[in-house]
């Protein structure tokens, strides 16, 4: 059997499809390089000027990545594999912090630190005086970790949900304490999901702009933005530095995670949870503390903004009603854009995932790198590059500023988030299960429907879920590429925020969170068997 699998080559159509996907995902990178060449930037100059931002960006990305790895994995294990109380509700809330657009999340945090802010009020009850100045590396790491740990949480929870209960049972029979068998047995089994999530969090930190700008932390994206009109050569050269960092990160991660082909297989059996015993309540506190910081705190600030504006108007009820009915259109477009982008993203990365996980193809590393690299390019650059390609490639100009192009932008930007979960999902369908189904004479379509898809579902759904939540909050590409007049909840939040209408920004953000929660529950958690 092993011999046969070594010899197995990926079928030609699959390889062709994967190459096509890689080419599409590489278009923003090609655009950046094209601009660097045509604008004739001086790299020596840029590197000289960007040493500070480069170093700060690296620090930020590494710290956030490690912190999200710890928080996301810990949360996922507690909520999926143990008997921590209220796990069902907490599982619904845990992925949601991802949905705050970073500029709003950071602003809500900063406002919460102010004299009458929600964070300050709560902390003063327990006798702690919050520092007024919340800026710099520490603050940026804190905020980014709070909002991006779901990049680790969702795929790891999906992976844990698919692991057979036997691995913990046997450890328990041998008398290991929970903490010990977590590190000895569980962690090795989920390593590729954890590392994949950490990589996504790292790439997100590289290309993040809104939050670090508000928190006064000077990174490479600040250079890209500050020079984008005045010195475009430098702007694109800084974007190239970002891409180089991303390639280094992707390469390191690939080395660390080893081969996917030895992933422990998925099982369809429902797990007996690990009993925490006297650790049950402390574990609950830990989970709640994370959610307090990353979900409750920003919502409290946003609620305060909304209330200040609406509560003070002459008739709060009708003011609220007016505002909410204005949000109906954006709510609808946000929903369908997010769902379509998520489905398309999973479908598009599947060929690459099959290549990487099922065939020993030399194509797999470059193809997956192209897909993953798209996430390190700032959204503004993705938008400009798609405008460039759509207008300059014959025939494609008819798609300019239409929904399909916008969806393409989302998929290229966020496909990376579906990549690892999909790879893991494909890798964990046990080979013997596929073989037996074939020997029993099931047709390929029937095998896919009745055997492969059910086993892959938690992983596919988790990957799609990440893309969904990211699409919902996407801003720069939506502003530039959406059909004219189309508004999403995030563009509304941004418009209100920029225009100084904090009340409307607060209310629209809360609607955004509720909508994301509902969608996550309906489309992700309920469908990922053990996750909900």
């Amino acid at each position: 059997m092993t011999q046969a699998s070594r010899a197995e080559r990926a079928p030609l159509p699959l390889r062709g499809l994967a190459i096509l996907v890689a080419v599409v995902f590489a278009t923003p990178v090609a655009y950046v390089l094209w601009r660097v060449i045509t604008l004739d930037g001086d790299f020596g100059d840029v590197i000289n000027e960007s040493m500070g931002p480069l170093w700060r960006t690296t620090q930020l990305a590494v710290i956030v990545s490690i912190a999200t790895g710890a928080v996301g994995t810990g949360l996922a294990w507690l909520l999926v594999r143990t008997d921590v109380p209220f796990a069902r509700v907490l599982r619904l809330l845990a992925p949601l912090p991802l949905v705050f657009p970073s500029f709003v999340g950071a602003a809500a945090f900063i406002a919460g630190m102010g004299p009458d802010g929600a964070i300050r009020s709560v902390m003063s009850v327990v006798g702690y005086s919050v520092p007024t100045r919340f800026r710099g590396l520490g603050a940026s790491c804190f905020v980014l970790t709070a909002f991006t740990y779901p990049y680790v949480y969702l795929p790891v929870a999906a992976r844990l949900a698919g692991l057979p209960p036997s691995i913990e049972e046997s450890a328990r029979l041998l008398g290991d304490r929970p903490s010990r068998f977590f590190f000895r047995i569980v962690l090795p089994a989920i390593r590729s999901s954890v590392l994949g999530g950490m990589l996504i969090a790292l790439l997100y930190s590289l290309s993040e702009f809104g939050a670090v700008q508000l928190l006064g932390f000077d990174t490479l994206t600040r250079v890209i933005y500050a020079t984008r009109l005045l010195d475009r050569a430098q702007s694109f050269a800084a974007a190239t530095l970002l891409l180089i960092l991303a390639i280094i990160a992707v390469t390191i991660e690939r080395r660390m995670r080893g081969s996917l082909r030895h992933s422990a297989p998925s099982s369809m059996r429902r797990n007996a949870p690990v009993t925490l015993g006297r650790w049950r309540i402390p574990a609950l506190f830990a989970v709640v503390a994370v959610l307090m910081v990353s979900l409750v705190t920003p919502i409290a600030s946003l609620g305060q903004w909304a209330w200040r504006g609406i509560g003070r108007s002459s008739s709060p009820a009708s003011a609220l009603g007016d505002q909410l009915s204005n949000l109906r259109g954006p709510l609808w477009s946000t929903t369908w854009l997010g769902v379509i982008a998520a489905v398309v993203a999973v479908l598009v990365v599947l060929p690459a995932a099959l290549l990487a996980a099922r065939f020993r193809s030399r194509l797999a590393p470059p193809v997956t790198s192209a897909i993953v690299g798209g996430f390190a390019v700032p959204g503004l650059v993705i938008a400009l590059s798609l405008a460039f390609w759509a207008l300059n490639v014959p025939y494609f100009d008819r798609f300019y500023q239409t929904t399909p192009l916008l969806i393409a932008a989302y998929v290229i930007h966020f496909g990376a988030q579906a990549m690892r979960s999909t790879e893991v999902a494909v890798a964990t369908v046990p080979r013997h299960v596929r073989e037996s189904a074939r020997l029993l004479g099931a047709s390929p379509a029937r095998r896919a429907r009745t055997v492969e898809l059910p086993l892959m579902r938690p992983g596919l759904v988790a990957g799609g879920g990440l893309v969904l939540l990211s699409t919902i909050k996407e801003l720069p590409a939506t502003l530039l590429l959406a059909p004219i007049g189309l508004q999403t909840l995030t563009t509304r939040v941004w418009g209100a925020f920029e225009g100084g209408l904090l009340a409307e920004a607060g209310l629209a953000s809360i609607v955004l969170v509720i909508a994301s929660g509902t969608l996550t529950w309906l489309l992700v958690l309920r469908r990922a068997d053990h996750l909900g």
């Binding site: 005045l230 300019y400 399909p404 720069p476 209100a496 225009g499 100084g500 209408l501």
Partner: protein, 341 residues
């Protein structure tokens, strides 16, 4: 063919069909009374008056809202195929950029003549349609106004150490520094920036963040545009930050304009000109004054009563369209002084 491959072939087919199906409703009206606007001014600030224009003229209006600089970059990518007819910018920088790239058409002389000569581009590429004045925001709870200086140049004095907030990456701050360079020269400007940096000025992402920090007492004083405190006050009656005005002829009282321009590539020039003329007529100018607390620029329209009087043209010895030109050196000066980041 193995299963997944077949699955993919099917999915690709479906997606391609969907793409082709969706792609063909993209032809915008060709001259039939539509004007397409890329607006760097936010929706809440400009939509009501654009709706009034549509009502008044029967010309329908399509608007893409976004950040002024991002939209300018998009128009530059689009080149002569831009769907936009009109570009409304938050500051002279973005229209100045497009003017330099040769993407703007020339506005008719009678439209330019609606504002004072200092408030439109010399080459007729864009016209200012509302003005914002630079001020020093402060919180009277913590600072006595009588102690505040009458010139922005005095902020480098040692008594202001650790008390000033600025937004150095903000376009308005950069415009202000560029204006200072034209009026006082590069050396004096460099010295002033260095003085502000040596005074341990706090840096913020934007003007709104500066006034919010002043309201909270996080920082005492802030160099910002005048209307942020009015907007904040309109939503929150308890908002504590207010404006201190420098002397009328001080560079610290510079007026920065928002710019309206028509793209060279437009097919709807007549409608576009009509829109810009509308923005400079009494109703729209009153709207900007009374609703968004900006200074009207068209001759004969008085600013709202709550706004302190300014001498429009007090800073007219600075060519405002030069603000778009040499921003690069301005940015370098700001950075060299150590103010960014």
């Amino acid at each position: 063919m193995s299963t997944p491959v077949r699955y993919f072939a099917l999915a690709t087919l479906v997606i391609t069909t969907a793409l082709v199906g969706c792609g063909d409703d993209s032809d915008a009206g060709t001259g039939g009374g539509v004007v397409t606007i890329y607006s760097g001014r936010t929706q809440n600030l400009v939509e009501p008056i654009l709706d009034r224009f549509a009502e008044e003229t029967g010309i329908s209006v399509e608007v893409r809202y976004g950040d002024s600089s991002d939209l300018a970059l998009l128009i530059d990518e689009e080149g002569d195929r831009s769907p936009a007819d009109v570009f409304l910018s938050q500051s002279p920088g973005s229209v100045g950029f497009l003017d330099q790239q040769g993407l703007l058409g020339t506005l008719p002389g009678d439209v330019l003549d609606l504002v004072a000569p200092g408030f439109h581009a010399a080459d007729g590429g864009w016209v200012g349609f509302s003005g914002r004045k630079r001020v020093l925001a402060f919180n009277p709870e913590f600072t006595d106004e009588s102690t505040l200086p009458s010139s922005v140049l005095d902020l480098v004095e040692p008594q202001w150490k650790g008390r000033i907030g600025v937004a150095p990456s903000n376009a308005s701050f950069q415009d202000f520094v560029t204006a200072m360079r034209f009026k006082l020269g590069d050396d004096a400007t460099r010295q002033w920036l260095q003085g502000i940096a040596d005074n341990d000025a706090f840096t913020f992402a934007n003007n709104a963040a500066v006034v919010a920090a002043i309201d909270r007492g996080e920082v005492e004083l802030g160099l910002v545009n005048h209307y942020y405190v009015y907007q904040a006050l309109a939503q929150d009656p308890d908002f504590a930050a207010i404006n201190h005005d420098f002397a009328v002829d001080d560079i610290g009282s510079l007026v920065i304009v928002t710019g309206a321009s028509i793209l060279k590539s437009t097919d709807n020039n007549a409608e576009a000109v009509e829109l810009i003329r509308f923005l400079l007529q009494n109703e729209a100018q009153r709207y900007f004054s009374d609703q968004t607390f900006e200074y009207p620029l068209a001759a004969g329209v008085e600013p709202a009563a709550i706004l302190p009087e300014i001498e429009l043209g007090g800073s007219a010895d600075i060519e405002l369209d030069q603000l778009g030109g040499d921003l690069q050196s301005t940015r370098e000066m700001i950075r060299d002084a150590g103010l960014e980041g």
